[in-house]
């Protein structure tokens, strides 16, 4: 856990009990006037410990350990895409933010003839959400009595995303690891029965290893993880073995708290969850602390809402996603084409822009600087009023691009009609529909 400036100060030469070290106190060689000033800079992560030549070995060890994240960052990689999970710092997103969205994986079995097709479908799946192209993260291949090595090879060829190799028999696992060479899969899983052999494989093939505990028993899980770590594998992922809503929520919450609040190193790793085909269980794991989520099926109608939920909960609460204010041209508009205005909140902008774009109708979209707020929020906060709307019209140079003076405003701010007319003399203000879905129809029937 991060130390405070004062805690760090206790580890620097000025606080040393060794007179030889203490003799250097406040020598300024680090570039700061005192050891305390240096400690404060270290706490703020604005300086590097190596600047002080006199720090004792034991202090160095403690400082380095404290700088390690409470939840280890784990990287898995396919042939063309990698995923990093872990390194989270809070229990609730409003405390700061959630950093690394959990990877969404689809499970296939080595007895499944269409495993490679499913893998390809997973790889090809992308969906656009507020201007971001989002996707799933990988495929979990399960040894279920088929040819594991061949299936892993086929999946790897079909999907450049990271893999999870699910095999508890070490010989089978090794066949998978061989087939996956050149990538960094997650190996699942080391249990009480097989951990020595699995740890050896993970070390040999340099892959992260999932540690599977007996259903919800966190003590057993922590001890097992410790043993595996002592056997030389540092990149671990924990699977508390829970598979239902209630016990998963308890186990995942406790593990996250242990890592963050108690600085419990033994469980300071990302977690893996198996959601089956239950979308509410998968969603629970997005909100509550999974690093990897394995689904039993690939279905776009399920993938899309989960990907959006993940994007929502992992946005930084301090900064709404915004687009730049200005003039946006949709479908190559000409001077007589419609002019609309909206705000610069990403969700708002894209709901409108996507509608107009997919309708094929040309149009000019003015985006006002509403400090990243939605239409009604901005209106209520005084950031999307007649004055700002008029200013956007006048300052963007749109008047030189069009040959008319008609502006469509969002239906939700119909009340602004009169005021905008006053601010923009000579303009005709049209109140558009309330929801963007209805814009294409409005443009077809009411513009012209």
């Amino acid at each position: 856990m991060a130390l405070t400036g004062l805690q760090i100060y206790k580890l620097l030469p000025a606080s040393s009990t060794n007179p030889e070290v203490k003799a250097h106190a406040n020598c300024k060689e680090c570039g700061y006037p005192t050891c305390l000033a240096f400690a404060m800079k270290l706490a703020a992560k604005q300086a590097d410990l190596s600047l002080c030549p006199y720090v004792e070995e034991e202090s160095k060890r403690q400082l380095e350990e404290s700088a390690a994240p409470p939840i280890r960052l784990i990287t898995v990689a396919g042939s063309a895409k990698k995923l990093e999970v872990g390194n989270e710092l809070v229990l609730h997103r409003h405390e700061k933010t959630f950093y690394h969205p959990p990877g969404l994986f689809v499970r296939v079995k080595d007895t499944q003839p269409d495993a490679a097709q499913v893998a390809k479908a997973v790889a090809d799946y992308t969906v656009d959400y507020v201007g971001m192209s989002l996707s799933l993260d990988g495929v979990a291949v399960e040894a279920a009595g088929g040819d594991f090595g061949a299936t892993v090879a086929a999946v790897k060829a079909a999907c450049p995303f990271p893999l999870i190799l699910m095999a508890t028999d070490p010989a089978t696992a090794e066949a998978g690891l061989k087939a996956a060479q050149g990538t960094t899969p997650l190996l699942w899983a080391a249990s009480a029965e097989n951990w020595q052999a699995m740890a050896q494989l993970a070390a040999q093939y340099k892959v992260p290893l999932a540690v599977l505990g007996p259903n919800g028993d966190l003590n057993a899980l922590a001890d097992l993880a410790e043993q595996v770590k002592n056997a030389g594998v540092e990149d671990l992922v924990l699977d508390p073995g829970t598979r239902d809503h209630a016990s998963s929520l308890a186990a995942f919450t406790q593990l996250r708290r242990l890592a963050l609040r108690k600085n419990e190193r033994k469980v300071g790793y990302p977690l893996i969850a198996f959601a089956g085909d239950d979308i509410t269980l998968a969603a629970q794991h997005i909100a509550k602390y999974a690093g990897f989520i394995v689904l039993d099926q690939f279905d776009p109608a399920m993938a899309y809402p989960l990907i959006v939920l993940r994007a929502n909960l992992f946005t930084d609460p301090q900064k709404p996603i915004q687009v730049l204010p200005g003039v946006y041209e949709i479908n190559h508009p000409g001077p007589s084409d419609p002019l609309m205005i909206t705000t610069n909140f990403s969700i708002t902008y894209f709901s409108v822009a996507n509608e107009v774009e997919s309708s094929g109708l040309p149009g000019w979209l003015l985006v006002a600087d509403a400090e990243g707020m939605s239409v009604l929020t901005a209106w209520a906060a005084g950031k999307f009023d007649a004055e700002r709307i008029a200013k956007t019209v006048k300052s963007t140079g749109i008047e030189q691009k069009i040959n008319h003076k008609r502006l469509i405003i969002p239906g939700h701010v119909a009340v602004l009609l009169g005021e905008i007319e006053e601010e923009l003399p000579g303009w005709e203000i049209n109140v558009g529909p309330r929801e963007a879905v209805d814009l294409p129809n409005y443009l077809k029937t009411r513009w012209g």
């Binding site: 108690k262 993938a303 899309y304 969700i347």
Partner: protein, 316 residues
């Protein structure tokens, strides 16, 4: 090796228990009542606190089939939407805990009409009711005052009660033994402030449900999620004016989105329309339940079934 100790939060606060509806013995006509609240920890963390009542699910019914609902949603009720009494019965049969009657903003909406609709719904179902006006402060006042009088003693929840109109609605709730749904726009302090104003008028806290407002999946749900988490944490830390059960309307929000409305002309990556639309409502609701919702108002019977299954799985 010493075992690791599971960290438990020692919360000092508790969410108040609020009971909706009144049976004949209690001065109403409901077949049963529904109690929500009473939690002494964050949602479903039974290892460290009490969760005495599972979140309740209300189904929204309208006095007339609304013109702006997608066909998928109206069809799901199999003709029952043509008549508000049938619709309320169907909601009960589908397994709802509560019926949320909402009046459309229509020409025929008047105080006498609202009374008549309320009477029909009360006799069609034995479930406790939440009653929402058409959503414009002045009109809400007119409708809800009539409803409060007509449903005297039923412990209805009257909504929405906002800063703009809380006085009239609270007075009606006080006079006729009802509860209010106190809605503030997604802000911890505004929620608290409205609860205080309402309480200052003399309405006991046990008759206030707070409604922090929410957004749909993909359209601002993260704000609702975090505001509810913060309100619930404040409640557990002992801030008495946040110790109220929370009601949110994920059904209304979800079915406004394009994902739930557009069957055609959308990217193939959105998947099958019917599944996607229902998933949209289910995930909006389930996520809000994880952040502290005590009552969710839903619209589709399949969403009700699936959100219920999740609650049951969490309650264990």
């Amino acid at each position: 090796m010493p075992g690791i100790e599971v960290p438990k939060e020692k919360w000092s606060g508790k969410v108040r228990e609020v009971t909706l509806g009144a049976t004949a013995a209690e001065g109403g006509t409901r077949a049963r009542t529904v109690t929500v609240g009473g939690e002494t920890t964050l949602p479903f963390l039974k290892f460290e606190g009490e969760i005495p009542h599972p979140p309740a699910i209300a189904i929204e019914v309208r006095d007339q089939p609304p013109s702006d609902w997608p066909a998928l949603l109206l069809q799901a009720w199999d003709g029952a939407t043509q008549d508000v009494a049938e619709w309320a019965k169907a909601a009960e049969a589908a397994g709802a805990d509560l019926v949320a009657l909402r009046f459309n903003a229509s020409e025929q909406l008047s105080a006498p009409y609202a009374r008549q609709v309320l009477r029909r719904v009360l006799s069609a179902t034995g479930l406790p009711l939440v009653v929402f006006g058409p959503g414009q402060a002045d009109w809400d006042n007119e409708v809800l005052v009539a409803v409060a009088e007509e449903g005297k003693g039923e412990r209805l929840v009257l909504g929405v009660c906002e800063e703009k109109n809380y006085r009239t609605i609270v007075a009606a709730a006080l006079a006729h033994g009802h509860l209010v749904d106190a809605r503030a726009p997604m802000d911890v302090n505004l929620s608290k402030q409205l609860n205080i104003l309402i309480h200052d008028m003399g309405l006991p806290v046990e008759r206030i449900i707070m409604d922090p407002t929410t957004g749909a999946l993909g359209y601002g749900i993260e704000y609702g999620y975090s505001v509810m988490e913060r309100l619930r944490i404040a409640a557990l830390q002992g801030d008495s004016m946040t110790q109220l059960p929370m009601l949110v309307t994920p059904g209304e929000e979800a079915w406004r989105t394009k994902e739930a409305r557009a069957a055609e002309g959308v990217p193939a990556a959105w998947g099958d329309y019917v599944k996607r639309a229902i998933n949209w409502e289910v995930l909006t609701a389930s996520t809000l339940i994880h952040s502290g919702a005590d009552i969710v108002v839903l619209r589709h019977p399949e969403s009700l079934r699936r959100v219920r299954a999740m609650i049951n799985a969490l309650i264990g």
